[in-house]
């Protein structure tokens, strides 16, 4: 299979403009004849669905949530990047592009990333026009802050609730189109399968989560904006229901899965407290603007943090990386925290934590200043841990947060299956091996508001509107397969709960396919995961029936897919004999424990093809070509 990235020719800064000019258009009068099915209404899906409807297409949107406003995007705290250069500190589109490429450890496409930086400014304009109350200074202008991996202030924010405000903005655009009838929204419906007609994606099968009904929906194109698969680890910062099933079921229908092993572990999360922990809570990266990370210099030091004098503390990020200090990229900060704990400097009862200390800034600017900026995060921390971070440093530890991997897409955001588009965290496109903070919101909205609405026309213009309907046999066949799968899950009637097995999977993944990986562990994971999968299908217990709301059945379906995806992740990690970004292979590191890339052999996207349930997946390579930036070893010193 030859992967065509469809990157337009010409100079980097002109590619997107000339591409927009060269693409086919759908005549305005014809747009209403085309129907687009949008699955997922988080930032990426809601922005895409509303924009497509504004342009005149018919849209049907689906989400397992009760309302689009509940999507996982709502939880993003810190902010969204844009190259506005309002603070006048030397930012530019090129700098945002460069930081993102470098932050991703040179494993993403130049052209995509440049386009992302280019449209970033439109996003901020759009959001302000929607009435999103971003933070402002006393002069009434927009305020910015800094995030990891950047030396300029380019992050726009709305208190600690930026994702919420952006999602409510996209939601408002979407309901406006629902009000005009151009978007039909199906709440509490979960995608079960993609239907392919003559090799093109033309429909989906969904399950109504309230009635259990399975139904078919036909359209002229299908858009997946279904988020990331971090919950394969069981514990992550993702919302409880976030899952990889939509992407995985597309993969089983022939869509390629790219760089599945690229996972982001976020450095600042509240550490695990009990065996019954159900999820991990992020403390926004923005805290690293003002908080200082340290551990005791002495191993196994059990004194309370306030009893440890200044000269017995190791502010290790400031020591190791004087230029970026506490604001190094996430992968670096996470790995160093793990290393400190592995060496015996960890703090708290489990010794799996480091301190994030605000004493200096409180002394410098006062408690009110800190409360104004981070108040809700501090409250959240106290509610969870019972400790007051104004008085004692926070304890933090890395946790799974984001998946850079996802379905392979070309420059137009179309997968290798014609008619199937993938947006937001669900695709693999822009973040390479490590995503910079405040860039996921930017990418989701760029994809939905400003990219897909153009690129999808190029496909639709070449197809006849309304070509398929649900009476075609492919739909019935697919519905039957879905029902069969559900019956199978309900009939195992074993002894273990879904969560028990999911926790076991999480354990394997965290230990062997987590923050630091090696060949032996990965090989072992590739044996262990299929064993656990067998155990699941022989011993899971899913009570209840398929014809009502059945939350255990929902979870079981998602776990079944995670059990497959986990193996793919391990295989990808084993194949990639280098360390890059969030993918750290212990065998490939410098003397100073920094990631060691192997550009000669691994400057490519690994796109995996499903070849059958009993045969290993096949890898295809898309070589990454760098014409504008030079591949250097990332240095944040």
């Amino acid at each position: 299979m030859k992967l065509e990235s469809k990157i337009p020719k010409g100079p980097l800064s002109e590619k997107w403009t000339s591409h927009k000019f060269n693409m086919k258009l759908v005549n305005p009068a014809n747009k209403r004849k085309y129907k687009v099915l949008v699955v997922g209404t988080g930032l990426a899906g809601a922005s895409a669905a509303s924009t497509l409807a504004e342009l005149g297409y018919q849209v049907e949107a689906f989400s397992y949530h009760e309302s689009p406003r509940r999507a996982h995007s709502i939880a993003a705290q810190g902010g969204i990047n844009a190259a506005k250069n309002y603070p006048g500190d030397g930012d530019s589109i090129y700098r945002l592009f460069y930081d993102t490429i470098k932050g991703g450890d040179y494993r993403s496409r130049e052209a995509n990333v440049y386009r992302l930086a280019e449209v970033s400014n439109n996003i901020i304009d759009q959001c302000v026009a929607q009435g999103i109350p971003f933070a402002r200074d006393y002069g009434g202008l927009l305020d910015n802050r800094s995030f990891g991996g950047a030396q300029v202030s380019r992050t726009f924010y709305a208190r600690g609730q930026t994702g919420q405000q952006l999602l409510l903005g996209a939601y408002s655009s979407l309901i406006r189109q629902m009000n005009t009838g151009k978007v039909k929204f199906h709440p509490r419906t979960e995608l079960q399968d993609i239907v392919m007609i003559d090799g093109e994606a033309k429909g989906i099968i969904i399950r109504d989560l309230v009635t259990g009904e399975i139904s078919s929906h036909a359209g002229d194109a299908v858009v997946l904006a279904t988020g990331g698969y971090g919950n394969v680890f069981f514990l992550s910062t993702n919302a409880m229901a976030s899952n990889g099933s939509a992407a995985y079921r597309a993969y089983k229908k022939g869509a390629l899965f790219a760089n599945p092993c690229f996972t982001q572990i976020h450095p600042t999360c509240i550490p695990v407290a009990s065996g019954f922990q159900s999820k991990l809570t992020l403390m926004s990266e923005s805290l690293r603007n003002d908080g200082r990370i340290w551990v005791p210099k002495k191993k196994g030091d059990n004194r309370a943090p306030l009893d440890i004098p200044e000269d017995e503390r190791d502010y290790y990020l400031e020591r190791l990386y004087p230029a970026f200090g506490n604001l190094v990229p996430r992968d670096v900060a996470s790995r160093r925290a793990k290393e400190m704990c592995d060496k015996g400097h960890g703090v708290g009862s489990t010794k799996l934590a480091v301190y994030l200390d605000f004493a200096d800034v409180i002394q410098r600017n006062g408690k009110n200043w800190v409360a104004d900026k981070y108040g809700n995060l501090f409250d959240m921390y106290e509610e969870i841990t019972g400790e007051n971070p104004y008085k004692t440093p926070m304890r933090i530890f890395p946790a799974v947060h984001y998946t850079m991997g996802g379905l392979w897409v070309d420059y137009n955001l179309m997968s290798n299956l014609p008619g199937l588009y993938v947006l937001g965290e669900a695709n693999f496109s822009d973040h390479g091996a490590n995503r910079l903070g405040a860039s996921a919101l930017m990418q989701g909205l760029a994809d939905g508001y400003f990219i897909l609405p153009y690129t999808i026309a190029d496909y639709l213009a070449r197809t006849k509107a309304g070509k398929v309907n649900t009476s075609l046999p492919e739909f019935g066949k697919s519905e039957n397969a879905v029902k069969e799968n559900i019956r199978k899950l309900l009939s195992v009637n074993g002894k273990q709960t879904v969560d028990e097995i999911h926790k076991k999977l999480g354990q394997i993944m965290w230990e062997k396919v987590g923050m630091a990986r090696n060949k032996a562990d990965l090989e072992n994971a590739i044996v262990e995961i299929p064993k656990l999968r067998k155990e699941f299908w022989a011993d899971v217990r899913v009570p209840g029936s398929e014809d009502t709301m059945n939350t255990e059945l929902e979870k079981a379906g998602r776990l079944a897919d995670f059990l497959d995806m986990a193996e793919l992740m391990a295989r990808d990690a084993l194949m990639r004999n280098e360390s890059c970004g969030g993918h750290f292979r212990e065998e490939f590191q410098t003397e100073e424990n920094e990631a060691m890339r192997n550009d000669d052999e691994f400057t490519f996207v690994a796109a995996w093809e499903h070849t059958g349930d009993d045969s290993p997946p096949q890898m295809h390579k898309e070589d990454l070509v760098f014409e504008n930036v030079q591949l250097t070893t990332r240095s944040y010193k």
Binding site: S50, T51, E54, H65, E66, S67, R69, R70, A71, H72, I74, A75, K84, Y86, N122, D125, Q126, C127, V128, A129, Q130, G131, I132, P133, R136, G139, G140, L141, L142, A158, R159, Q164, Y171, S172, S173, I175, R176, N179, P187, A239, M240, F276, S278, T281, L282, M380, E383, I384, T385, G386, Y449, F450, P453, T497, D499, E500, R541, P543, M549, E552
Partner: protein
């Protein structure tokens, strides 16, 4: 810790529900209230019973998905947080905890503690937006907005749409929820063009959905996990009056 939970169980919207009582043992203080429910559900599943259905997703107080009455209070005994943020250290060993769904005509029960709040979406649909298409927006800094207005707008915009205000109100009024959105746009320059129709349409829609009238008991403000102020209701009343007076 050991507690007894008395939970509302209801098969579906057509069935009649009732309370069921379950003991839950081996709880640790650090556990969240939902982790305690997870534990209960694990044991129910193992016995082949259907677990208690409850809505939740982010488990960090922002998605607005969770919500239940705990010992007679919306989102439980602690003010200013959602149910998912509640931790077991707030309870005592041996407590009996009574758990019920939101009860309001406009929020029918789907199963157990899960209710249907799509009526909120329909109110929003009637006017909770600024009519602007993607692309073509002016530069974000073209209109300065005072920090005070931006902060008031943000206070209103913080609403997570959980429905506690409705559930706790004896009239099942949605005034706090609706006014938070009306307020957000009323204080911003971007919201001015549709200011009049917005408040009229949203209030009409709220009435049509079967939410009750506001009699200023302020129970909503007391139970709102985001501490949305009733000052927004006052602002909305003024907006509504002004809109109607100007015809």
């Amino acid at each position: 810790m050991k507690v007894t939970v008395k939970i509302w169980r209801q098969k579906d919207s057509r069935s009649k529900g009732s309370f069921q009582t379950y003991p839950v043992d081996n709880i640790s203080e650090e556990m969240s209230f939902f982790e305690m429910l997870d534990m209960l559900n694990e044991s129910l599943v193992k016995q082949g019973e259907k677990p208690v259905a409850f809505d939740h997703d982010c488990r960090e107080g922002i998605c607005g998905t969770c919500g239940m009455f705990i010992n007679g209070r919306a989102h439980g005994p602690i003010s200013g947080i959602t149910t998912c943020q509640l931790h077991m250290r707030r309870f005592n060993d041996g407590d009996t905890i009574v758990v019920e769904p939101w009860r309001a005509k406009a929020f029918p029960v789907i199963q157990d503690l899960v209710v249907d709040r799509t009526s909120f979406d329909r109110i929003m649909l009637s006017g909770g937006y600024i009519s602007i298409n993607s692309g073509g927006a002016p530069d974000a800094n073209a209109i300065p907005i005072s920090k005070i207005s931006a902060d008031i707008a943000m206070d209103g915009a913080s609403c997570i749409g959980c429905g506690a205000c409705v559930a706790t109100c004896k009239n099942s009024s949605a005034m706090l929820f609706v006014s938070a959105k009306v307020s957000q746009f009323a204080v911003l320059p971007q919201g001015q063009v549709e200011r009049k129709e917005r408040v009229q349409n949203m209030v009409t829609s709220m009435d049509e959905e079967g939410f009750g009238n506001c009699t200023n008991t302020y129970a909503c403000e007391a139970e709102c996990p985001k501490e949305i102020s009733v000052a927004h209701i006052a602002r909305m009343n003024r907006e509504f009056l002004k809109a109607n007076l100007s015809g």
